[in-house]
Protein backbone atom coordinates (compact mmCIF):
# COMPACT_ATOMS: atom_id res chain seq x y z
CA UNK A 1 0.00 0.00 0.00
CA UNK A 2 1.14 3.53 -0.70
CA UNK A 3 1.33 6.39 1.78
CA UNK A 4 -1.53 8.19 0.04
CA UNK A 5 -3.74 5.07 0.11
CA UNK A 6 -3.15 4.74 3.84
CA UNK A 7 -3.92 8.42 4.39
CA UNK A 8 -7.22 7.93 2.52
CA UNK A 9 -8.12 4.74 4.40
CA UNK A 10 -7.48 5.79 8.00
CA UNK A 11 -8.44 8.76 10.22
CA UNK A 12 -5.14 10.57 9.74
CA UNK A 13 -4.53 14.31 9.52
CA UNK A 14 -1.75 15.34 7.18
CA UNK A 15 0.53 17.90 8.84
CA UNK A 16 3.29 17.70 6.24
CA UNK A 17 2.95 15.86 2.95
CA UNK A 18 5.18 12.99 1.89
CA UNK A 19 7.81 13.70 -0.78
CA UNK A 20 6.38 10.88 -2.84
CA UNK A 21 2.75 10.02 -1.96
CA UNK A 22 2.99 6.93 -4.15
CA UNK A 23 5.86 5.50 -2.11
CA UNK A 24 5.11 1.92 -1.10
CA UNK A 25 4.92 1.45 2.68
CA UNK A 26 7.15 -1.50 3.49
CA UNK A 27 6.10 -2.06 7.09
CA UNK A 28 5.34 -0.42 10.40
CA UNK A 29 6.96 0.12 13.76
CA UNK A 30 5.59 1.55 17.01
CA UNK A 31 7.85 2.88 19.78
CA UNK A 32 8.59 6.05 21.72
CA UNK A 33 12.24 5.14 22.27
CA UNK A 34 14.31 6.70 19.50
CA UNK A 35 17.25 4.31 19.65
CA UNK A 36 14.85 1.40 19.55
CA UNK A 37 13.35 2.80 16.36
CA UNK A 38 16.87 3.43 15.01
CA UNK A 39 17.74 -0.19 15.60
CA UNK A 40 14.52 -1.83 14.47
CA UNK A 41 12.52 0.18 11.93
CA UNK A 42 13.24 -0.62 8.30
CA UNK A 43 13.52 1.73 5.33
CA UNK A 44 10.07 2.60 3.99
CA UNK A 45 8.34 1.86 7.31
CA UNK A 46 5.66 4.01 8.90
CA UNK A 47 6.56 4.90 12.49
CA UNK A 48 3.85 5.28 15.14
CA UNK A 49 4.90 7.34 18.17
CA UNK A 50 3.72 9.87 20.73
CA UNK A 51 6.98 11.86 20.63
CA UNK A 52 6.24 15.19 18.98
CA UNK A 53 9.65 16.88 19.35
CA UNK A 54 11.91 17.84 16.47
CA UNK A 55 14.36 14.96 16.82
CA UNK A 56 11.83 12.49 15.40
CA UNK A 57 12.35 14.08 11.98
CA UNK A 58 16.09 13.33 11.94
CA UNK A 59 15.39 9.72 12.92
CA UNK A 60 12.81 9.32 10.15
CA UNK A 61 15.04 11.02 7.60
CA UNK A 62 18.19 9.05 8.45
CA UNK A 63 16.27 5.75 8.33
CA UNK A 64 14.44 6.65 5.13
CA UNK A 65 11.04 6.03 6.74
CA UNK A 66 7.82 6.44 4.74
CA UNK A 67 6.43 8.73 7.43
CA UNK A 68 5.64 9.42 11.08
CA UNK A 69 2.22 8.99 12.69
CA UNK A 70 1.73 10.83 15.97
CA UNK A 71 -0.86 8.78 17.84
CA UNK A 72 -3.14 9.38 20.79
CA UNK A 73 -3.78 13.00 19.90
CA UNK A 74 -0.09 13.90 20.36
CA UNK A 75 0.75 17.21 18.69
CA UNK A 76 4.01 17.99 16.90
CA UNK A 77 6.09 20.96 18.07
CA UNK A 78 6.31 23.91 15.66
CA UNK A 79 9.95 23.10 14.98
CA UNK A 80 9.01 19.50 14.21
CA UNK A 81 6.56 20.68 11.55
CA UNK A 82 9.15 23.04 10.04
CA UNK A 83 11.79 20.33 9.91
CA UNK A 84 9.43 17.71 8.51
CA UNK A 85 8.42 20.16 5.77
CA UNK A 86 12.04 20.90 4.96
CA UNK A 87 13.09 17.24 4.96
CA UNK A 88 9.91 16.24 3.08
CA UNK A 89 8.95 13.67 5.70
CA UNK A 90 5.25 12.79 5.91
CA UNK A 91 4.02 13.84 9.34
CA UNK A 92 0.55 12.56 10.19
CA UNK A 93 -1.53 12.75 13.35
CA UNK A 94 -4.41 10.71 14.66
CA UNK A 95 -6.64 10.75 17.72
CA UNK A 96 -6.45 6.94 17.77
CA UNK A 97 -4.12 5.35 20.30
CA UNK A 98 -0.82 3.75 19.32
CA UNK A 99 -2.42 0.32 19.75
CA UNK A 100 -5.48 1.19 17.71
CA UNK A 101 -3.70 2.83 14.78
CA UNK A 102 -1.14 0.03 14.65
CA UNK A 103 -4.00 -2.48 14.54
CA UNK A 104 -5.71 -0.60 11.74
CA UNK A 105 -2.47 -0.51 9.76
CA UNK A 106 -2.05 -4.24 10.30
CA UNK A 107 -5.58 -4.81 9.00
CA UNK A 108 -4.54 -3.01 5.83
CA UNK A 109 -1.67 -5.44 5.41
CA UNK A 110 1.14 -3.36 6.93
CA UNK A 111 3.17 -5.66 9.15
CA UNK A 112 6.19 -5.25 11.40
CA UNK A 113 8.39 -7.29 9.11
CA UNK A 114 10.04 -6.21 5.89
Amino acid sequence: MTVSEIIAALPLTVITAPENPEQEVKGGYASDLLSNVMGQAGAGFLWVTMQGHQNIVAVASLLGLAGIILAGGAKPDEETIRKAGREKIALLTTELSTFEISGRLYQLGISGQC
Binding site: L34, N36, H53, A58, S61
Partner: protein
Protein backbone atom coordinates in the same frame (compact mmCIF):
# COMPACT_ATOMS: atom_id res chain seq x y z
CA UNK B 1 39.01 9.86 -0.20
CA UNK B 2 36.47 12.36 1.08
CA UNK B 3 36.94 13.89 4.52
CA UNK B 4 34.06 15.41 6.44
CA UNK B 5 34.59 17.06 9.79
CA UNK B 6 31.72 18.35 11.87
CA UNK B 7 31.53 20.12 15.19
CA UNK B 8 29.04 18.74 17.74
CA UNK B 9 27.78 20.78 20.68
CA UNK B 10 26.56 19.26 23.92
CA UNK B 11 22.84 19.72 24.67
CA UNK B 12 22.15 21.11 21.20
CA UNK B 13 19.07 19.03 20.45
CA UNK B 14 17.90 21.49 17.79
CA UNK B 15 20.75 20.59 15.43
CA UNK B 16 20.94 16.92 16.42
CA UNK B 17 21.25 14.63 13.44
CA UNK B 18 22.66 17.22 11.04
CA UNK B 19 26.20 15.82 11.11
CA UNK B 20 24.97 12.27 10.49
CA UNK B 21 22.69 13.52 7.77
CA UNK B 22 25.63 15.14 5.95
CA UNK B 23 27.55 11.87 5.99
CA UNK B 24 24.50 10.01 4.71
CA UNK B 25 23.97 12.46 1.84
CA UNK B 26 27.56 12.16 0.64
CA UNK B 27 27.35 8.34 0.70
CA UNK B 28 24.12 8.50 -1.29
CA UNK B 29 25.69 10.86 -3.82
CA UNK B 30 28.66 8.58 -4.46
CA UNK B 31 26.38 5.57 -4.86
CA UNK B 32 27.14 3.49 -1.75
CA UNK B 33 24.43 0.77 -1.42
CA UNK B 34 21.33 1.84 0.52
CA UNK B 35 21.60 -0.70 3.33
CA UNK B 36 25.25 0.20 3.91
CA UNK B 37 24.43 3.92 3.94
CA UNK B 38 21.71 3.15 6.45
CA UNK B 39 24.13 1.37 8.79
CA UNK B 40 26.54 4.31 8.61
CA UNK B 41 23.66 6.72 9.28
CA UNK B 42 22.49 4.78 12.34
CA UNK B 43 26.01 4.41 13.75
CA UNK B 44 26.76 8.09 13.16
CA UNK B 45 23.47 9.27 14.66
CA UNK B 46 23.85 7.23 17.83
CA UNK B 47 27.39 8.54 18.33
CA UNK B 48 26.25 12.09 17.58
CA UNK B 49 23.39 11.80 20.10
CA UNK B 50 25.74 10.48 22.77
CA UNK B 51 27.83 13.65 22.46
CA UNK B 52 24.73 15.85 22.59
CA UNK B 53 23.30 13.99 25.59
CA UNK B 54 26.45 13.42 27.64
CA UNK B 55 29.35 15.62 26.53
CA UNK B 56 30.26 19.31 26.34
CA UNK B 57 31.37 19.17 22.74
CA UNK B 58 32.81 16.83 20.18
CA UNK B 59 33.98 16.34 16.63
CA UNK B 60 32.68 13.82 14.13
CA UNK B 61 35.09 12.90 11.37
CA UNK B 62 34.07 10.75 8.44
CA UNK B 63 36.75 9.42 6.11
CA UNK B 64 35.02 8.02 3.07
CA UNK B 65 37.17 5.64 1.01
CA UNK B 66 35.96 3.74 -2.06
CA UNK B 67 35.61 0.53 -0.02
CA UNK B 68 34.77 1.78 3.47
CA UNK B 69 33.71 4.65 5.73
CA UNK B 70 35.65 5.36 8.89
CA UNK B 71 33.71 7.33 11.48
CA UNK B 72 35.43 8.86 14.49
CA UNK B 73 33.48 10.71 17.15
CA UNK B 74 35.68 12.24 19.83
CA UNK B 75 34.21 14.26 22.67
CA UNK B 76 35.15 16.31 25.68
CA UNK B 77 32.90 14.85 28.32
CA UNK B 78 32.54 12.70 31.39
CA UNK B 79 33.94 9.51 29.87
CA UNK B 80 32.40 6.07 30.36
CA UNK B 81 33.04 4.48 33.76
CA UNK B 82 32.30 0.90 32.75
CA UNK B 83 32.32 0.16 29.03
CA UNK B 84 31.00 -3.41 29.32
CA UNK B 85 28.04 -2.13 31.34
CA UNK B 86 27.45 0.67 28.81
CA UNK B 87 27.46 -1.93 26.01
CA UNK B 88 24.55 -3.78 27.64
CA UNK B 89 21.17 -3.02 26.10
CA UNK B 90 19.04 -1.03 28.49
CA UNK B 91 21.89 0.44 30.55
CA UNK B 92 21.97 4.22 30.44
CA UNK B 93 23.20 7.14 32.52
CA UNK B 94 21.10 9.70 30.65
CA UNK B 95 19.13 12.19 32.75
CA UNK B 96 15.33 11.93 33.06
CA UNK B 97 14.77 15.06 30.93
CA UNK B 98 16.44 13.33 28.00
CA UNK B 99 14.69 10.01 28.63
CA UNK B 100 11.34 11.76 28.40
CA UNK B 101 12.25 12.64 24.82
CA UNK B 102 12.76 8.97 24.09
CA UNK B 103 16.56 9.11 24.27
CA UNK B 104 18.69 7.32 26.84
CA UNK B 105 17.10 3.92 26.35
CA UNK B 106 20.52 2.30 26.62
CA UNK B 107 20.63 1.13 23.03
CA UNK B 108 23.03 3.64 21.50
CA UNK B 109 26.31 1.77 21.90
CA UNK B 110 24.79 -1.65 21.05
CA UNK B 111 23.26 -0.10 17.91
CA UNK B 112 26.65 1.35 16.91
CA UNK B 113 28.41 -1.97 17.46
CA UNK B 114 25.78 -3.85 15.47
CA UNK B 115 25.95 -1.46 12.53
CA UNK B 116 29.72 -1.27 12.23
CA UNK B 117 32.20 -3.89 11.04
CA UNK B 118 34.94 -2.60 13.33
CA UNK B 119 34.14 -0.82 16.58
CA UNK B 120 36.44 0.60 19.20
CA UNK B 121 35.98 2.83 22.26
CA UNK B 122 38.67 4.73 24.11
CA UNK B 123 37.58 6.63 27.18
CA UNK B 124 39.17 8.59 29.99
CA UNK B 125 37.03 9.49 32.99
CA UNK B 126 36.63 13.24 33.28
CA UNK B 127 38.22 13.88 29.89
CA UNK B 128 36.20 12.28 27.15
CA UNK B 129 35.42 9.42 24.84
CA UNK B 130 36.54 8.53 21.35
CA UNK B 131 34.55 6.04 19.29
CA UNK B 132 35.95 4.65 16.07
CA UNK B 133 33.80 2.70 13.66
CA UNK B 134 34.54 1.25 10.24
CA UNK B 135 31.79 0.20 7.88
CA UNK B 136 32.74 -1.60 4.66
CA UNK B 137 30.76 -0.65 1.58
CA UNK B 138 30.43 -4.20 0.38
CA UNK B 139 26.94 -5.49 1.21
CA UNK B 140 26.76 -7.95 4.08
CA UNK B 141 25.89 -11.50 2.94
Amino acid sequence: MITLEMQLDGASFETAGEASSRVKKVLQQIGVPGDVTRRVAIAAYEAEMNVIIHARRGIMTALIYPDRTELTVADEGPGIADISLAMQEGYSTAPDSVREMGFGAGMGLPNMARCSDEFDIETVIGEGTKIRMTIYHEKRP
